[in-house]
């Protein structure tokens, strides 16, 4: 009976978010077969600790499990792609914080045009090239539509960190797309 309660709880609170879970697994591992492994392990972990899940935050809870599983997996597999990036270059920091006064002379904005026209493959490669902490907030926000607070729950960091990483992620992505263009 206990087991059935857990299953019902899992189905009600976690199963609706499994596509989101698989999506973030895919973007963290950057390939689908590894994503499947991470995903299945995450499901088992989630089921084992389903009692700890509070009612209202099933998605953030599940995505946090997937994220932790993915990072553990990457350490085990010594994936170079998971090297963590702590800080910004001075230039990036200024860009992120001052909001582009550096680019003030640029009135016509060919960048917007470039971004609008970027093809899916190039965009995918550019996103995959982002450091994982930037990539995850970008995917959670811009692809999966989570709010800052929910992202903060998933990555276990303050909202301010979510904001600055998101800003850096977007700025880096735009720079990459620009660089690829020229």
């Amino acid at each position: 009976v206990q087991n059935e309660d857990e299953r019902a709880r899992f189905e009600r609170l976690v199963v609706p978010h499994l596509s989101d879970a698989l999506t973030i697994a895919r973007w963290l591992t950057r390939n689908r077969s590894d994503a499947e492994d991470v995903f299945q392990e995450s499901c088992l972990r989630a089921f084992r600790s389903i009692r700890q899940l509070e009612e209202e935050n099933g998605r953030a809870w599940m995505l946090a499990i997937v994220r932790n599983t993915a990072y553990t997996w990457s350490r085990k597999n010594r994936s170079a792609s998971f090297v963590l990036v702590e800080d910004l270059t001075g230039h990036e920091r200024i860009e992120a914080e001052r909001g582009g006064e550096l680019a003030n002379e640029n009135n016509e904005n060919p960048e917007t045009h470039l971004i609008e026209k970027v093809d899916a493959d190039r965009l995918e490669i550019a996103v995959e090239g982002l450091p994982p902490q930037f990539r995850e907030v970008l995917i959670l926000r811009d692809l999966q539509g989570l709010g800052y607070r929910e992202i903060a729950q998933v990555i276990g960091a303050p909202i301010g960190t979510v904001m600055s990483r998101l800003a850096r992620a977007r700025e880096r992505l735009i720079q990459t797309l620009k660089a690829g263009q020229s």
Binding site: R7, E36, Q40, T112, E116, A120, G145, R170
Partner: protein
């Protein structure tokens, strides 16, 4: 959130505010003031345009995963048995094929049994005795046109190897057989009519339904379709209402001469190496 972090520090954080504004993470009261500041600063306005374009591109062009009914079924099995599903459940497929299959998380010609003993009671209580399939079987027939209606669907029919072997040997369809039909929507033109490609074929898109018929000793009785029972599932594995099941019985009764299976000839003609990939598209 109620207010953006550092909102009292605007001189330094205008760049951040552009993001918060774009993401709808500022108070309504703050939003107007922030928008004013952005509009007054061409560089910020440009950034807002860029980030908006970027967000739009990410949302519309990056792939999003969609869990398939079979992944869901595997998870179900895994949590019931408290074990990971091992890669060997992918069967005797060569590693290279395995890799290709992993791309679309599909598999074929794996033995298909609805293995009810391992499913929780709720899955086969009362009349809900046909369980959601854990694996696909061998793809033995596809139907690209729908003579039953004008809308057009794409249908794939799968059987397990034991059933294929039996009918090929001229034996009756064995007990325990599970036939699975996956019904997809198809690519449509602007008027909603099925759009055919250059070869006159339909292109399947979103999975609409997983229909299962299962034969067990002693089943039947309420309806006259031999010992078959029927169940239609939504792609997420939830059961569809029963009335459609009785419609199944009524229609399949017409195929009594061929063990109630309309596609028996195709079943007999199926090739063992008919491996194809279960594809599942979100759109």
């Amino acid at each position: 959130m109620t207010s953006p972090p550092n909102s009292n520090n605007r001189g330094q954080d205008l760049g951040m505010l552009v993001h918060a504004y774009l993401d709808g993470e500022v108070d309504v009261a703050d939003a107007a003031a922030i928008k004013q500041q952005i509009d007054a600063n061409p560089a910020l306005a440009t950034r807002l345009e860029n980030y908006t374009a970027l967000q739009n591109a990410l949302r519309t062009r990056l792939p999003r995963e969609q869990i398939t009914p079979f992944q869901l079924a595997r998870i179900n099995t895994a949590i019931v048995t408290r074990r990971s599903w091992a890669r060997p459940t992918w069967g005797a497929l060569a590693a290279s094929i395995l890799l290709a299959l992993a791309l679309s998380s599909g598999s074929t010609w794996l033995v298909l049994r609805s293995d009810q003993t391992r499913l929780p009671a709720s899955d086969h209580a009362g009349s809900d005795r046909v369980a959601f399939p854990r694996e696909l079987g061998v793809l033995y027939a596809t139907f690209e046109t729908d003579k039953d209606g004008p809308s057009g669907y794409y249908r794939e029919t799968y059987a397990d190897q034991a059933a294929l072997d039996a009918v090929k040997a001229g034996k009756p369809i064995p007990y325990g057989t599970v036939l699975v039909r996956a019904v997809y929507d198809v690519l449509r033109d602007s008027k909603g009519a099925p759009a055919k490609d250059a070869n006159g074929r339909l292109t399947k898109t979103k999975l609409l339904s997983v229909n299962v018929m299962e034969k067990r000793a002693g089943w039947g009785g309420r309806y006259s379709a031999g010992e078959w029972d029927f169940q239609s599932f939504a792609p997420d594995g939830t059961r569809r209402a029963k009335p459609s099941a009785s419609a199944c019985f009524a229609c399949h009764n017409k195929a009594q001469a061929q063990d109630f299976v309309f596609s028996l000839d195709k079943l007999k003609a199926a090739k063992r190496q008919g491996a194809s990939i279960w594809r599942y598209f979100q759109r």
